[in-house]
């Protein structure tokens, strides 16, 4: 098989390759066209360059791809509108979420106050250890006892004293020590 000759006039080789692969600057395109008019070997070389890039190119779009392309403007517009709708609804969704969160916080915040006023404390409030649990605690190591002392009031008075400070702080409500 004879090897194709890509080069006759060396100064034109780069332009021939560029022209076969895509657009040229206007001045370069004009200069190359003038040269090709009088240079048959470079015309043949131009054909070889075009063959080379046709081997690199992908196959033309199939009928299926062409059909998808015809639909592209309409489906892209639809996708854009859906996206816009989502963005428009986003602030309302965020506001609704914040309101719901605020409502939950409000309920949790006010429930301990109701408990101090005489109603039953929330189930999630920390419960005072039962007698059996207290015994188990007493059986523990001294460091465990220290931890318990630090975390819980030592006497009823302390509970009452701290009760004022704890009032309104549902998360640390110690409940009825009775």
């Amino acid at each position: 098989m004879s090897a194709p000759n890509f080069t006759h006039c060396a100064e034109m080789e780069a332009l021939l390759a560029e022209r076969a692969s895509g657009p040229l600057e206007a001045a370069d395109a004009a200069a190359l066209s003038r040269h090709l008019l009088g240079c048959a070997p470079c015309q043949a070389a131009a054909g070889h360059w075009e063959t080379l890039f046709s081997l690199v190119a992908l196959a033309p779009p199939t009928l299926k791809e062409e059909a998808a392309l015809r639909d592209l403007p309409a489906r892209t517009l639809l996708a854009w509108r859906l996206r816009e709708d989502r963005f428009r609804r986003l602030p309302a969704l965020v506001a609704a979420g914040l309101l719901a969160a605020a409502a939950v916080v409000f309920v949790l915040w006010h429930s301990p106050q109701q408990a101090v006023g005489g109603s039953a404390p929330l189930a999630m409030a920390v419960e005072t250890p039962s007698a059996a649990e207290a015994e188990w605690t007493l059986d523990g190591t001294s460091s465990e006892l220290d931890d318990v002392d630090a975390a819980e009031p030592a006497s009823e008075d302390a509970t009452l004293d701290d009760g004022l400070a704890l009032e309104g702080d549902g998360a640390f409500f110690l409940g009825d020590s009775g």
Binding site: R19, A59, K64, E65, L72, T76, L77
Partner: protein
Amino acid sequence: MLARAMTEPGDAVPGGRRAQRAWTLITGGGGVSDEALLADFFAGNSRAFGELVSRHQRLVHALVRRYVSRPEDAADLAQAAFLRAFAAVRRSLGRQGGTQTGLFRAWLVRIAVNVGKNHARDIGRWRFESAEVLAEAPAAGPDAVALLERAEQRRRVRAAMACLSARQREVVTLRVDGGLAFKEVAAALRITENNAKVHFHHAVRRLKAAMEGEEG
């Protein structure tokens, strides 16, 4: 030359043929700049959106085809590229109050290339098939030798493409698939125009050697 018509205004404007003809009259059949159409669209004219997509869809589709494993995925990637480009332009309009002439096409090309590269990274594939892989069936007769010779050239050129650096391959395929000028190739890849040409000619030297019979 591999002539490719990448700008085909009025391929499919939403609203039917009559509406399309009327819109062609309004826009002068493509004489309105992209930026004017963008301003029109963001002012509420959805037909301007269709005109812009129609104008650039072949270019975007051609750019992303190289990165898909299934041809039908190319339209999805093209759509994603358009949506991102419109969103980017709107952000730019919000910040600067306007866009420069030619900026939409430049962004669109860059976004299309990035969408394609991300997709290819996800699926681990890049297409080397040439235009005639499917068209040429084994044949007998006087043309058989020529076909065999061409099949051998194609095999060597594909092998050489696979051996190019990623940047060299990108430059070549942006030229061949998208018909982009070196200035546009450079903008899409964020390199200088001179750098794009250097990559191109390094790649071309290897491809030429492969076609001449030397293994790439």
